[in-house]
């Protein structure tokens, strides 16, 4: 098996499979806590890439079924938006009106 140190699960915050497994081995098996301690799902992609993989690692290591593990909340805005657009001062990414 490839080196878990080099397998990136959360690309936004560069979290590896090794870090996730180490935390689970320490007894942190609630996805809400894993998310917050490693900042998985808290980057710009909001967990779209990493959370399904975290759930599968967690299921494998704890013997739970993946559908027993609830997904953490997804926050708005679903896609990152410049603050200037949200206050109506800019039209789109980075361009002023």
């Amino acid at each position: 098996m490839s080196d878990k140190k080099n397998i990136i699960i959360c690309r936004c915050n560069e979290v590896t499979q090794e870090e996730i497994e180490a935390l689970i081995d320490q007894g942190v098996t609630d996805i809400e806590m894993i998310k917050r301690l490693l900042r998985i799902g808290m980057g710009p992609c909001q967990g779209r890439t990493c959370l399904p993989m975290v759930i599968s690692i967690l299921a494998r290591k704890t013997g739970k079924r993946p559908d027993e593990i609830t997904l953490p909340a997804t926050r708005i805005p679903v896609r990152p938006v410049p603050a200037g657009v949200l206050v109506g001062e800019m039209e789109s990414d980075g361009n002023e009106e």
């Binding site: 710009p44 200037g84 206050v87």
Partner: protein, 389 residues
Amino acid sequence: MKSRAEVVIIGGGVIGLSIAYHLGKLGVEDVVVLEKKYIGSGSTFRCASGIRAQFTDEANIKLQKYNIERWKRLSDELEHDINFKQSGYLFLATSEEEVEVFKKNIKLQNRLGVPTRLIGMDEAKEIVPPLNTEPFLAGAWNPEDGKASPFHVVYGFAKKAKEFGVEICEYTPAVDILVEKDEIKGVKTEKGIIKTGIVINAANAWAPIINEMAGLKRDFIPIKPYKHQLVKTEPIAEGQIEPLTCPPAWNDSYVIQDGEDGGVICGTGLEKLTHLDDVQPTYDFMREVLKWATKIIPALKYVHVVRQWAGFYAKTPDSNPAIGRIQYVDELYIAAGFSGHGFMMAPGVGEAIAELIVKGKSKVPLDWDWYDPHRFERGELRSAAFQIG
């Protein structure tokens, strides 16, 4: 889950877990913490992470001066990095009247040993390089204020408490408190009864429900949930907006750079009273908070917003918490209603409550009369604790 414990703490937020940790440290091994969801899920994980001693009354300043000393040592004590940084709080005045108020507050803070200074806008610009200094006349700057990671603090308290033998029961709501002739006999949960003689209500916004379980009137301590939302941006370079920066006259709006990932957390004035299930973020809030944040730091216009969430300020009528013994039921204690200040107060409050239970008194400079849970029924409100956001 144990069927018998010396102490049961209801509420697994930063306050409940700090109390559990300090009880364990004092040798009370038989402690159970009941949390209805996962630890930190109520208000702690939804807070903006700020820690300050810049209050406007003696009781809160003294407690927070002590707390900052505790925060400095907490990573070592918990053997877990809680990411505490003394990045300061910078309040900004927009009028001469406000400058005078700042001066008065600074005098009181200095008298109590808090080194806040009145600074000019050149210095403010050095502290927060992208600050729009033009609207402001002066700043109140305490470099000893700071921030820490709510996630790592909760985890650190819980981990160390467990090492002391504390049992933390997540997804285990308390459903009733068994009281006979004003004495506590146990706590009923969805998973069974825990026999105990001592209960601590650390449920913050949910505390009135817990008081009612013990036979008290729900409004005996009138804690109400005020929805408070936050918006967070993508990370920016470290050191740009490190302190909490707040012009109180601008709807109590503030910005602070997250100590862990460098994203900017933006907050604004309290929203109205809501109910305990309402943590739905709103676009109205997002537009309002960003309107102020981009006035404080214009360059934030070009920074992407990645996340918005909501929590509660569990607010009492004077914005001061209720901390202490409840006289109507023997061995019932409360530490709740923190009105948005629970995270920053947690180390000292946990220590004080634990010492009160074990030793009958505490060395923490916590003014028990000021925070007396019975003050509301007597109609004796304190001066409102300085609140922002």
